[in-house]
């Protein structure tokens, strides 16, 4: 009986936490891919971030802010992984990279131009355009001011336009 009650409590706890962050796992994974450019590392980052979110759940005061809160943990985790895993730099220097699509047409040219952007600019584009987050939330996730977030998105778009003109 006691075991069953504990089991029920654990199941409830899991269900509650899943209701909070479960829907955010997919966007979190994509954000991690944007940062890390490696699906396996992105998977690790999301799992680690979810653990940190669970441990820091007390710090979430308002469930409406859960999305920015969780994505900011994911972004932090990705930055940490990039900084601590120096071998990823070695890998980038290796002669072969098959992680980025080679663009065969105009549509995919943008993929190439975007792959050349600084990661923080790519992340800003992803959050603003792909996830459709308001600038204030983009800023919270990236831990920068709203003005900086706005200018980062604008700057990235300008760079893309310039890059595409050069490509033509």
């Amino acid at each position: 009986m006691v075991t069953s009650a504990i089991g029920q409590a654990a199941a409830d706890r899991e269900a509650d936490f899943d209701a909070l962050v479960g829907p955010l796992i997919e966007p979190a994974f994509k954000l991690a891919v944007v940062f890390l450019r490696d699906p396996h590392e992105a998977e690790d980052a999301v799992q680690e971030a979810t653990l940190k979110a669970w441990r820091g759940l007390d710090r979430l005061r308002d469930e409406k802010a859960a999305r920015a809160w969780f994505l900011s943990i994911v972004a932090n985790q990705c930055r940490s992984m990039r900084r601590s895993r120096w071998w990823s730099v070695l890998r980038m220097e290796s002669p072969l990279r098959d992680d980025v699509e080679r663009p065969p047409d105009d549509r995919l040219d943008l993929t190439r131009e975007m792959s050349r952007l600084p990661l923080t600019d790519r992340a800003a584009l992803f959050l603003f355009f792909y996830l459709d987050l308001p600038i204030a939330e983009v800023a919270r996730v990236l831990k920068i001011s709203p003005q900086a977030a706005k200018s980062r998105v604008h700057r990235a778009v300008e760079k893309l336009r310039l890059g595409m003109e050069v490509a033509k």
Partner: protein, 543 residues
């Protein structure tokens, strides 16, 4: 921002994400693993419970010891059960006490810890020094025979990020500690090397100047890390001193101390070829050596000196030894699944490799007897089935690789494979799915490498001597960058006859995977160490 821009940006992201689909079980696994972990709560009740538990355990221990003191044989100081696997720990061999020392690192999904472990050739011992460096990973450690202690420098420590919802990030630390076999002592040198930990620095003993040397790069503050500076520092037991060198290696390398010499192994691109250069230290400057056989690109590796066999042992995806003048690739029948923490341990008279220093996925102990690796102590964890430890995927024969590809790739047609391999023999490492594959063929000394497969590659651009041309090839489907019947051919350094080179084209065919198909199937052939003629022998042999 217009909707058109949004659509195009989103389409580009969709294109990127289509190659990295969300793992179906990620949500369940992430949430379940997190909920299974303890939450941080008020410490007071836990402290009370902990104190009570300690008292009970102490009481029981006193009773048991009192009862059995005269009847039980002496127990060894330690255990044969190894510590939990850990990544990015610091380790070295403490000659003064005859033990391998492992400090910190991160175990599983937990943050780095402050644990100090030793292994004497048989027993592991977790020590409880009164003082320890803070929890960290990527610290570097070396034994200092001049002062009979172990020196530890820096690392990355977890720090809180200010602001709501912030959790933590890693930050470099530049402190210096010594270990005397019993406790840690923080040293207070007058000078602090400003070495960062974007790249792991290297710390080792220099038998020529009889001091500890630190080689690394300053912390970078830009995305591209172009502002990093290489620096070398020397530790005399009291203070650090920066060394002024006429030539400083410009890429992160690993120093390894031999019998009475010191080498630096550094990734390099020479004549359009990627390899690992061997530098020699004369006490004041570095010189690049030109051994008969160079090391290939190593990726993640470990290296240490074997005084019994008078060889430096390098463990990467292969095992290499340095006899003082050149490198030899060894052909062990057994190889550790991962690159572990390497040290020569006197008690077993062998170089050992413990665990998995890159991803902390196993804690097995292997020993190197000069010709083969053998398992000395089993681990306590079962690595995942797809585990390669970041290091070792066993090579197979060229024919076995071809058979694997033919049997596995079913959704994409045609499946082409090279049938001519100049200046062989080659072995092969293959990765294949139902949609695509890649095979890396390597010569025995790894000085010739051919990579071939169905892949939409994006190789990096070359330098001033690079040449990008369109060449008639098969009946390739036209791309924006190559018309019908042509492939893109790229040579990284035209002044070098055996430069890295590649050929990319769209082969007429079909695939159920849209990422492998764009009116044709993406094929990519790359080689290094082959002449132009040899490269085309391979390219024209596809069947």
């Amino acid at each position: 921002m217009t909707d058109r821009i949004r659509m195009r940006v989103n389409a580009a992201f969709d294109n990127e994400f289509s190659r990295a689909p969300v793992p179906p079980s990620l949500r369940t696994l992430s949430v379940r693993a997190a909920v299974a972990a303890p939450r941080r709560r008020s410490a007071a009740p836990q402290v009370v419970a902990l104190v009570a538990a300690v008292l009970v355990i102490a009481l029981v221990a006193v009773v048991l010891v009192g009862t059995h003191l005269h009847s039980t044989p002496p127990i060894p100081a330690g255990t044969t059960i190894p510590p939990a696997p850990r990544a990015l720990a610091a380790s070295t061999y403490d000659e003064a006490h005859g033990v391998m020392v492992v400090f910190g690192g991160a175990s599983g999904q937990t943050p780095p810890d402050t644990a100090t472990w030793t292994w004497d050739g048989k027993y592991w011992l977790k020590l409880h020094p009164p003082v320890s460096p803070s929890a960290r990973q990527m610290a570097v450690m070396a034994y200092d025979p001049a002062h009979h202690n172990v020196v530890l420098f820096g690392g990355n420590v977890l720090q809180k990020v200010s602001g709501k919802g912030g959790c933590c990030s890693y930050a470099p630390i530049d402190d210096t500690w010594t270990w005397n076999g019993t406790t840690w002592q923080e040293r207070r040198p007058q000078h602090l090397p400003p070495i960062g930990f974007d790249f792991r620095p290297s710390l080792t003993y220099d038998p020529i100047t009889k001091s500890i040397l630190l080689f690394g790069f300053t912390q970078s503050h830009t995305e591209a890390m172009t502002d990093k500076q290489a620096e070398m520092w020397s530790w005399n037991g009291i203070d650090w001193k920066q060394l002024s060198l006429s030539i400083t290696p410009s890429v992160n390398g690993v120093m390894v101390t031999g019998q009475d010499d010191l080498l630096l192994l550094e990734p390099a691109n020479v004549g359009g070829r990627y390899l690992t250069q061997t530098w020699s230290w004369d006490g004041s400057s570095w010189t690049v050596l030109s051994p008969t056989v160079n090391l290939p690109p190593l990726g993640w590796f470990g290296a240490t000196y074997d005084p019994v066999r008078r060889q430096i042992v390098v463990l990467s995806s292969d095992t290499w030894t340095w006899d003082g003048s050149t490198w030899t690739r060894q052909h062990p029948t057994v190889q550790p699944r991962a690159v572990g923490y390497l040290a020569f341990v006197s008690a077993v008279h062998e170089v050992v490799s413990w665990g998995d220093s890159i991803s902390g996925a196993d804690n097995e102990m292997f020993g190197w007897d000069g010709s083969n690796w053998k398992l000395l102590e089993p681990g306590t964890v079962v690595p995942p089935s797809n585990y390669s430890g970041g290091a070792y995927t066993p090579p197979v024969s060229v024919d076995q690789a071809a058979a694997t590809v033919r049997a596995t790739v079913k959704n994409t047609h045609p499946v082409l494979l090279p049938t001519v391999f100049p200046n062989g023999p080659y072995d092969a490492r293959v990765v294949a799915t139902a949609d695509d594959f890649s095979i890396t063929y390597q010569s025995d000394l790894r000085d010739r490498t051919i990579t071939f497969g169905i892949m939409a590659a994006n190789p990096p651009p070359g330098g001033a001597n690079a040449r990008d041309t369109r060449v008639p090839f098969r009946n390739a489907v036209g791309l924006k960058y190559a018309p019908n019947g042509y492939a893109e051919y790229y040579v990284y350094d035209t002044s070098s006859p055996t430069s890295q080179r590649w050929l990319m084209w769209l082969e007429p065919g079909s695939s159920t995977n849209s990422m492998d198909f764009n009116g044709g199937v993406y094929y990519f052939l790359s080689a290094t160490g082959l002449t132009d003629q040899e490269f085309w022998q391979v390219a024209n042999s596809l069947q």
